[in-house]
């Protein structure tokens, strides 16, 4: 496990070409590493550090600043429930409580079967459909307890596989064009 595989290494190297300075490719590259393994393994961080020319400590320090980047394992489905103001005053507290009960874990933990990790998050910009949540960063609005239960069932049975890719997959669309003007403009 866990250095970038051949295809992902090539993706990572392509990323380097898009920026005037290598280090800029760091966060997109970490998303690739997380897509591959579901989290940032020490080897994955080491490999990314090599590619961008940093020390692993710097990559680790940078990654740890960002909530989406995990340096310990995460379940296949990351359930992120917003409890910020618009959701809070529309029942997010009850939703979160229900989720804890339903999944049997408090926020920050993963179900023993590795299927779900629950987290309480800040506003996910879906306040028009409060309370809301995201699963692997695919959004679901107006979630009451019944909707939550159905969602969990659908996730478990794979009915939502198309909308919700495995944790870590950020963008399924690949950039088709490299830089056309040379890295520092015309």
């Amino acid at each position: 496990m866990a250095r970038l595989n051949g295809d992902n290494t090539r993706r990572a190297e392509k990323l380097l070409e898009l920026y005037p300075h290598k280090r800029s490719a760091l966060i997109p590259m970490l998303h690739i590493a997380q897509e591959q393994d579901g989290w940032l393994t020490p080897d994955g961080i080491g490999h990314v550090a090599e590619l961008v020319g940093l020390a692993p400590a710097e990559v680790y320090g940078t990654a740890s600043f960002y909530d989406m980047l995990f340096t310990s394992p995460v379940g296949r489905h990351l359930v992120s429930i917003c409890t910020n103001l618009a959701c809070l005053i529309n029942g997010a507290g009850e939703l979160l409580e229900h989720a804890e009960e339903r999944l049997g874990i408090p926020p920050g933990e993963t179900t023993p079967d590795g299927e779900f990790t629950l987290e309480e998050v800040e506003c996910i910009a879906l306040c028009g459909e409060a309370p809301c949540l995201a699963v692997n960063w695919r959004f679901f609005g107006s979630i009451d307890t019944a909707a939550f239960d159905k969602l969990i069932d659908d996730l478990r049975t794979g009915r939502l596989a198309e909308k919700v890719p495995p944790h870590g997959t950020l963008c399924r669309v690949r950039r088709t064009v490299g830089l056309t003007t040379g890295s520092d403009g015309q």
């Binding site: 020490p42 020390a55 692993p56 400590a57 710097e58 680790y60 320090g61 940078t62 740890s64 600043f65």
Partner: protein
């Protein structure tokens, strides 16, 4: 950091701080200008040697801006003319109190058990500024208590105030970004990558600059309380950079070194070897009593007995074999006064010029002393620095920091001409990696390209690389940093390269990169064949010294270390004095060192430890080291500074000059001095390059950075005639903070050894020739040496190129790493584990060509010996070469090298493959 001064900018800005007009420097921050003007603004994150980050917000003051007076961070707002600053208003006070309170809410307040207690800026500012009682009734943040981040440094994250001093030091100053902030908000911690340690030759600087007790050094932990410490300012003798440092002791025992910010030298930093090397001083294994040989054994005896035995033995050799059968090796670890005493003893009492302070691991004295010189500041402000040297990071660590900063901040172009990449390679604009033994060939190609001829390849360096380097050098202010890049070949190649460069590039200057503590002082004092004190040759200085010393000098130039050992091996040298010298470890060819020591009839060793070379001696005399005696040293740039005395030497150990003086008198001579001051005064009077440098002048507060010799101009100020090396009380103050500031936090910062501001202006002046010494008058009014020409380097005959190695051999490169098998590291409890096992490194292609895998044990054989070493992969090693770090514990490079050969080729064969066995285990 600071904006460059615009050309034609008006005079320095004047700012107004609390009603006081202060002249500032353009581009500097308010906090620095105010401090120089006597107004101390509290701070935690700001550090004069690092870029400001404005994170702690402790330095909030009121500054007039577009919207009137407003709170701003004094460390992040540059001065501007007419700026109004208020540091004492209620608004400022409330803001600063507020920040302090915020810093304390999560702080454990465990001052009574904290190493920093008593010298902690946070603690002191709390007393000085802070609110009394805590309004914070919530639970504090918790972290696991101290965790080691490497062998030398422990981290207590609960005490950390997130000032980023340590992380900035690691990344910005040392280039070792192996600690970083992790997490966000008030869960931010400093740490390493999980499972890795903070690998840095400079790691404990972060302890010194930590403004709280979050970082502590493992060797110092719980050893003392700050108020028990005594302190003296001194110079580090671990290498030739000569960093200024505070030497601290408790109950007559050395306990800590702290870096002092010397503008021309170390900017406050120390390497870990220099910082913790005091452990060797306090080592239980120090020699404390004289020893004399009785049969197979060395037996403790009295000084009288030992000295008499030594004198008798040497006299007997003199009588039987003549004065040329006596030799002195070593002296590069002594103070100038000691070196001078031995030098005078050799020439006037023993009658020999067979003296060498180098162990065949440096460069000829003529090269070091005779080329036009440059200072560290001049190197760091040159256009181009040409490095013909070993890895500076390993051998002259703090000079590496200066060079690195020059390359990054001042855009000084580094060009390397070396047989292997170094830590500076990544900062070099061009690295010309030549084949071992072919530096001169490469230098010749380079020079020819600089002179406008078509670039071509040579010495294993490609033509386009030569062209790139030549383009950089042409027409620029160039300084060469000249050392001994590899000990697997004689110095000749380097010497020749230097000669080629010096002869063809006009205005070229050199900075010596020899490493041993006071090697430059020892050379200056004449501890080299053909060289007399004050950088004059035996021939040129003979008349003057004969009259000054009142004795005849040896008629002919004597032998150097190599020749002394060779002569000893054939019983031609029969009396040998080793002064702080261990040829068995340091001479590049251990076979010859062993034969030489075995061939000597009578050996006297003066040292601090019973070394491999000392165990066979006839007399062993225990010496006192730095901190146990006063004196001066001379660093790589020729800067003379003072050593501070702080503790008593163990047992009956005494300074070398005393030993030399007494030995001289037992030999029927008289060195003519009774005190170290007497020697210093004599040096000033007789040694031409040292004219004008006297103890009284060096002892002055404003002269603590010392003088680069020779002084450019005579000094006229009247000097007190005699008070040399005044009692230490008058020089114990550390750091340099303007006197009006008495606030405790200043003292706290001072106690950290952190000078709050650089002491003097950076010397960015052009590279200039030291003027020749004119008609000088010594402090006591006596007339000085007549104008004797200082040594100049005449150049050398070109050598033929070495033959090509055979297909099965790799050509050896060997140089030192910081932690080695030397006495300092091996007798420092904390440093000893850092010396690595000897391994042989080569690139992947060479390893696979030889069917060796990393980790395999291989048989490495040369014409001298065969060793079994572990093979390691290092793709930085050029093809065709193999690298072994010199003088690591156990057998090593010195066993393979034949000093008489032009290069050292080694064959590498697999012995066994531990991993192959594992494969079958599944």
């Amino acid at each position: 950091m600071t904006d460059p001064v615009e050309p034609g900018a008006p005079a320095n800005p004047v700012i107004n701080v609390d009603g006081k007009a202060i002249e500032a420097r353009p581009g500097e921050m308010i906090i620095a200008a105010a401090e120089r003007g006597g107004v101390y603004i509290p701070r935690f994150c700001w550090h004069p040697r690092m870029k400001p980050v404005g994170m702690c917000r402790m330095c909030l003051v009121e500054v007039n801006g577009p919207r009137g007076m407003a709170l701003m961070p004094a460390c992040y707002v540059p001065v501007s003319d007419g700026q109004e600053i208020v540091t004492t208003s209620d608004k400022v006070k409330k803001a600063q109190d507020g920040v302090l309170e915020f810093l304390l809410i999560n702080h454990p307040l465990d001052c009574p058990v904290c190493d920093r207690g008593g010298e902690c800026p946070l603690q002191d500012q709390t007393f000085a500024f802070g609110p009394g009682e805590s309004r914070f009734v919530e639970e504090k943040r918790h972290w696991q208590k101290p965790i080691p981040i490497n062998n030398l440094v422990a981290l207590d994250r609960e005490r950390c105030i997130q000032c980023a001093r340590c992380t900035r030091f690691a990344e910005e100053v040392a280039g070792d970004p192996f600690i970083d902030f992790i997490g966000r908000s008030d869960h931010t911690e400093v740490n390493t990558f999980p499972g890795e340690s903070f690998e840095s030759n400079f790691s404990a600087n972060i302890v010194q600059i930590c403004p709280v007790g979050a970082l502590t050094s493992t060797p110092y932990r719980f050893k003392a309380r700050p108020w028990d410490l005594e302190v003296v300012e001194s110079t580090c003798t671990a290498c030739a950079v000569g960093c200024r440092m505070a030497v601290q002791s408790s109950q007559d025992r050395l306990i800590r070194h702290l870096g002092i910010d010397s503008e021309p030298v170390n900017h406050g930093w120390l390497c870990d070897k220099g910082r913790f090397g005091y452990e060797a001083v306090v080592s239980e294994e120090r020699l404390t009593q004289p020893l004399v040989r009785k049969g197979d054994e060395l037996i403790e005896t009295s000084w009288h007995e030992a000295l008499k035995t030594a004198a008798d033995g040497l006299r007997r050799v003199q009588e039987l074999n003549g004065s040329t059968a006596v030799a002195i090796l070593g002296g590069a670890r002594l103070a100038n006064e000691d070196a001078y005493a031995w030098s005078k003893l050799a020439r006037t009492v023993l009658g020999t010029d067979n003296v060498d302070c180098q162990m065949g691991d440096g460069l000829p004295a003529e090269v070091v002393l005779g080329l036009p010189r440059a200072t560290i500041d001049e190197v760091c402000s040159a256009d181009v620095v040409l490095l013909v040297a070993p890895d500076i990071k390993e051998e002259l660590p703090v000079f590496y920091l200066r060079l690195r900063a020059a390359a990054i901040d001042r855009k000084v172009a580094l060009v390397e001409l070396a047989p292997q990449p170094t830590a500076l390679t990544e900062h070099a604009v061009v690295s010309l990696l030549h084949r071992p033994g072919e530096a001169a060939a490469a230098a010749r190609k380079l020079v020819s390209a600089v002179l406008g001829r078509k670039p071509s390849s040579g010495g294993g360096v490609k033509g386009d690389e030569i062209a790139a380097a030549a383009e950089l050098l042409a027409g620029k202010r160039v300084v060469v940093v000249l050392g001994r890049p590899s000990l697997a070949e004689p110095a000749d190649g380097t010497t020749e390269a230097a000669a080629v460069l010096a002869a063809n590039i006009p205005g070229l200057r050199f900075l010596s990169a020899l490493r041993r503590g006071n090697v430059h002082g020892a050379l200056d004092m004449g501890l080299a064949p053909g060289v007399l004190p004050g950088r004059v040759s035996l021939d040129d200085g003979r008349a003057w010294f004969q009259s000054a010393w009142g004795a005849d000098l040896p008629g002919r130039r004597g032998l150097d270390a190599h020749a002394i050992l060779a002569a000893a091996a054939t019983n031609q040298v029969q009396g040998l004095v080793l002064i702080g010298a261990n040829p068995m470890a340091d001479f590049p060819d251990r076979t010859l060192a062993r034969r030489g020591l075995a061939g000597v009839g009578f050996t006297v060793v003066v040292d601090t430890f019973l070394t491999d070379s000392a165990i066979h001696a006839d007399v062993v005399l225990p010496a006192a080291t730095y901190a146990e005696r006063p004196g001066t040293t001379t660093n790589m740039e020729g800067r003379v500074t003072r050593l501070g005395q702080k503790v008593t030497a163990p047992g009956t150990a005494r300074p070398d000059w005393m030993i030399a003086t007494e030995l001289a008198s037992l030999l029927g001579g008289d060195l003519g001095f009774e005190s170290i001051d007497g020697i210093a005064t004599e040096i000033e009077r007789v040694a031409p390059a040292y004219a004008g440098v006297n103890p009284a002048r060096l002892a002055k507060r404003e002269n603590r950075d010392g003088f680069v010799v020779p002084l450019a101009e005579p000094h006229q100020e009247p000097e007190p005639p005699e008070v040399a090396f005044p009692p230490q009380e008058s020089i114990v103050d550390v750091g340099d903070v303007s006197d009006p500031m008495e606030s405790i936090e200043v003292n706290a910062a001072e106690a950290q050894g952190e000078t709050l501001l650089p002491r003097s202006e950076p010397d960015a002046g052009p590279v200039g020739a030291p003027e020749s010494i004119g008609d000088l008058t010594a402090s006591d009014g006596s007339s000085l040496a007549p104008t004797i020409p200082l040594i100049s380097f005449a150049g050398v005959e070109p050598m033929p190129a070495p033959h090509a190695p055979d297909a099965y051999s790799l050509r050896l490169v060997t140089s030192r790493s910081l932690y080695d098998a030397g006495a300092l590291v091996q007798h420092s409890e904390s440093l000893k584990p850092l010396a690595t096992v000897t391994r042989i490194r080569a690139c992947a292609r060479d390893l696979s060509r030889l069917a060796v895998r990393p980790g395999d044990l291989v048989r490495v054989s040369s014409s001298r010996a065969a060793l079994v070493l572990e093979a390691a992969l290092d793709d930085r090693v050029p093809r065709g070469s193999a690298v072994i770090d010199f003088n690591q514990p156990g057998d090593g490079a010195a066993d393979l090298v034949d000093v008489n050969a032009q290069v050292t080729d080694v064959r590498i064969e697999n012995v066994k493959r531990p991993s192959a066995r594992k494969a079958s285990d599944g």
